[in-house]
């Protein structure tokens, strides 16, 4: 897949609950390459690629939504109050640009200048004390343009420099992008089993979209593709890194609320080794993914998590290593095309 598609995918804004633009883009991208495509009641996009065998159903899943802001108030002077959608450290919000609502009205989150901070302890404000400035001088300027309930996303440009990519929302457009590449590759070859590709909503607000997909499809096995945390910065000891850029896709053994079944964990590792794909095992167990929701649905569905390591996620700008990304795609393709199928236990 081209840099151009990754750029469009990562620059598009789809804060949880308003994933419609991302969904439309993905639908257009994959629509003609799949056997069935539909949108469910929670806004999830579900595509089917029929396999050589319909004995089992495999689910590949990534979430379309990203962290962002929700407009909660418009003040008389035209400034906007907001709250966070998903986990955002208030520290990354000061002096940043956002795009608001369906018309993507540009705005900025300002801060009092350092010149006025002397002699008093000025701290990073709470999110409820920050404001977005869109250039309006009164609330009348905003009529028909910005409304309470609109969401706002970061306006960061996507760019690839050497083997690194810079942009926003790699959590989880990286995963969406991996799925799109797998679908592309299947235009010439059928997967072993019937394979569903789900692009789900509202992961960041508490794993809300994926449960509906689990019940709709009732897959025998699921693979969740993520852009996950990399904390390999100069402050941190290696055990806190979570993942390390350049070491390949990160395979999760256990995270919040979910232990990947041992046989499945070993299966993913075995596949990486068989295909000679570098991989790393995720070093931390914090944070959850849709694997928890899928895994604990119905009678329990074996679910694995495979991630592209990304630095500085849940902020306006993150970095990922394109070799890690390409290796994640390679691993996903190997799983979908496995010649003997998957022996689900």
């Amino acid at each position: 897949m081209s840099e151009e598609v990754r750029k469009r995918l990562c620059e598009e804004i789809g804060v949880s609950g308003e994933e419609y633009r991302v969904r439309k883009m993905i639908k257009e991208e994959i629509g003609s390459f799949v056997d069935d495509i539909r949108i469910d009641k929670l806004g999830n996009l579900i595509a089917l690629k029929r396999g050589r065998s319909d004995e089992k159903k495999v689910l590949f899943l990534a979430h379309m939504d990203e962290v962002g802001l929700l407009i909660t108030g418009i003040e008389d002077n035209g400034l906007l109050r907001f709250t966070a959608v998903g986990g955002i450290d208030p520290k990354v919000l000061l002096s940043k640009r956002v795009l608001i609502g369906k018309d993507k009205i540009p705005g900025v989150i300002g801060f009092i200048p350092i010149h006025m901070q002397r002699g008093e302890e000025v701290k990073v404000p709470k999110i409820e004390d920050m404001r977005i400035d869109v250039g309006a001088s009164s609330n009348k300027d905003l009529e028909g343009k910005v409304e309470i309930g609109d969401t706002a996303g970061f306006s960061t440009q996507y760019e690839e420099v050497e083997k690194m990519a810079k942009g926003k929302a790699f959590d989880d457009r990286a995963g969406c992008s991996v799925l799109i590449e797998v679908i592309d590759a299947l235009s010439e070859q059928k997967p072993f089993f019937d394979t569903y590709f789900a692009f789900v909503t509202q992961e960041e607000t508490g794993l809300r979209g994926s449960g509906a997909v689990a019940y709709e499809i009732m897959p025998d096995i699921a693979f969740v593709f993520e852009g996950t945390t990399a904390g390999d910065n100069p402050e941190l000891e290696e055990e806190r890194w979570s993942t390390h850029l350049g070491e390949g896709p990160a395979i999760t053994a256990v995270h919040r609320g979910w232990v990947v079944p041992k046989w499945l964990f070993e299966y993913v590792i075995g596949m990486a080794e068989r295909e000679d794909i570098p991989y790393q095992i995720k070093r931390t167990t914090k944070g959850g993914t849709d694997a928890y929701r899928i895994g604990t649905s119905a009678r329990g569905i074996p679910s694995a998590v495979i991630s592209v390591p990304c630095r500085y996620i849940h902020s306006p700008v993150s970095l990922m290593n394109l070799e890690d990304y390409a290796n994640t795609v390679k691993l996903a393709k190997a799983i979908v095309n496995t010649e003997e199928g998957i022996n689900v236990r």
Binding site: K123, T284, L319
Partner: protein
């Protein structure tokens, strides 16, 4: 070039105090056809002279805007190729998490970087409560290995924040380094106007270096010029959420400085002219102006000074916000003031 396009070029060209060469080049390219002569001073300021077009040069006026910006120099290269920074000018560490930056290598090449921010998932409770500090800021140079970083970047190389110009509603725009590139733009616009009019005084349009570290650029440029009247044009802190005191408002006109640094005579004339040509004017009194004016005032035998400012929100951040109406009104006011300088200095001021 369109104002906004030129402003984007001016603000995206690095010019941390003391390293203004690249932004000076952009300015010179823009003004060389608009003035009679120009040169760069030993400290890096650019002085452009537009001579009296009436042929009756009765005095010298200097209009000065600073072209430098706050920023950083590389202080250390860490294991892994991450950079530590030291600040140049007043940079608030609280706005740095997750900012994009440009590293200007001593080789002349530029590299992109981001200031890292640990994902909330990986923060300890203690880290969550910690306030940002310059000690923990680090730059991740995009696409370079540690070896490549060490081969191409060294301690002392300058680093600027990266943030393109963005148009907001009405006539408002946002960008980095609008302090004081917005007045660099005003000075260029002024030179364009001077080419269309008759005026009696010689006009020295100055783009000063190093304002953010104490104005040596403006001080030495003013020494060369020995002006009869000096006007510093800069930005001032505009009304902003979170500050109770009354501050100049965006879109309500340029701000005239008053106080011991500012000549009451020039201030009075500016007030009168603003009324005549119907330019809104706001007033701001201070003992020290916090601009190049403080230095220009005391150069040589002394210079009668005025300060005119553009109200700006979020100063020294990457989202400095101004109203272009104020800029256009500032230029109109300067044009009219220069037009009305028809007496000699002694006649006008004594």
């Amino acid at each position: 070039m369109e104002d906004i396009e030129l402003l984007d070029k001016l603000t995206s060209t690095p010019g941390v105090s003391g390293s203004e060469e690249k932004v000076a080049d952009v300015i010179i390219e823009e003004i060389k056809g608009l003035c009679d002569e120009y040169h760069t001073t030993p400290l890096g300021s650019v002085i452009a002279l537009k001579k009296s077009t009436s042929g009756r040069a009765k005095g010298k006026i200097e209009i000065s805007a600073h072209m430098d910006e706050i920023g950083f120099v590389v202080a250390k290269i860490e294991e892994g190729g991450y950079l530590r920074l030291a600040t140049v000018g007043g940079v608030d560490p609280k706005i740095l998490s997750s900012q994009e930056v440009t590293i200007i290598s001593h080789t002349g090449r530029e590299y992109k970087g981001v200031i890292g921010a640990l994902a909330p998932h990986l923060q300890t409770e203690k880290e969550r409560k910690e306030q940002p500090s310059h000690d923990t800021v680090f730059v991740d140079v995009i696409g370079l290995s540690e070896d490549e970083v060490r081969a191409n970047i060294r301690v002392g190389d300058t680093v600027t924040m990266h943030a393109p110009i963005l148009r907001l509603m009405k006539n408002r725009i946002v960008g980095k380094s609008l302090d004081d590139r917005i007045c660099v733009l005003a000075n260029i616009k002024l030179l364009r106007e001077l080419n269309k009019m008759i005026f009696d005084w010689d006009v020295y349009v100055v783009f000063s270096s190093q304002e953010e570290i104490g104005s040596p650029g403006a001080r030495t440029a003013t020494y060369e010029i020995e002006p009869d009247v000096g006007i510093a044009i800069d930005v001032t802190i505009g009304d902003i959420h979170g500050v109770k005191e009354k501050l100049p408002k965006l879109g309500k006109g340029p701000v005239l400085g008053l106080g011991p640094t500012c000549s009451p005579k020039i201030a009075g004339d500016i007030k009168k002219i603003a009324k005549e040509i119907n330019v809104p004017l706001q007033l701001e009194a201070s003992v020290r102006t916090g601009t190049d004016a403080d230095s220009m005032f005391l150069v040589g035998k002394g210079v009668p000074i005025a300060v005119l400012s553009i109200p700006l929100r979020h100063m020294h951040t990457t989202v400095e916000l101004i109203d272009m109406d104020d800029v256009n009104n500032l230029v109109r006011l300067l044009v009219e003031y220069i037009k009305q300088l028809d007496k000699t200095y002694e006649e006008a001021f004594l």
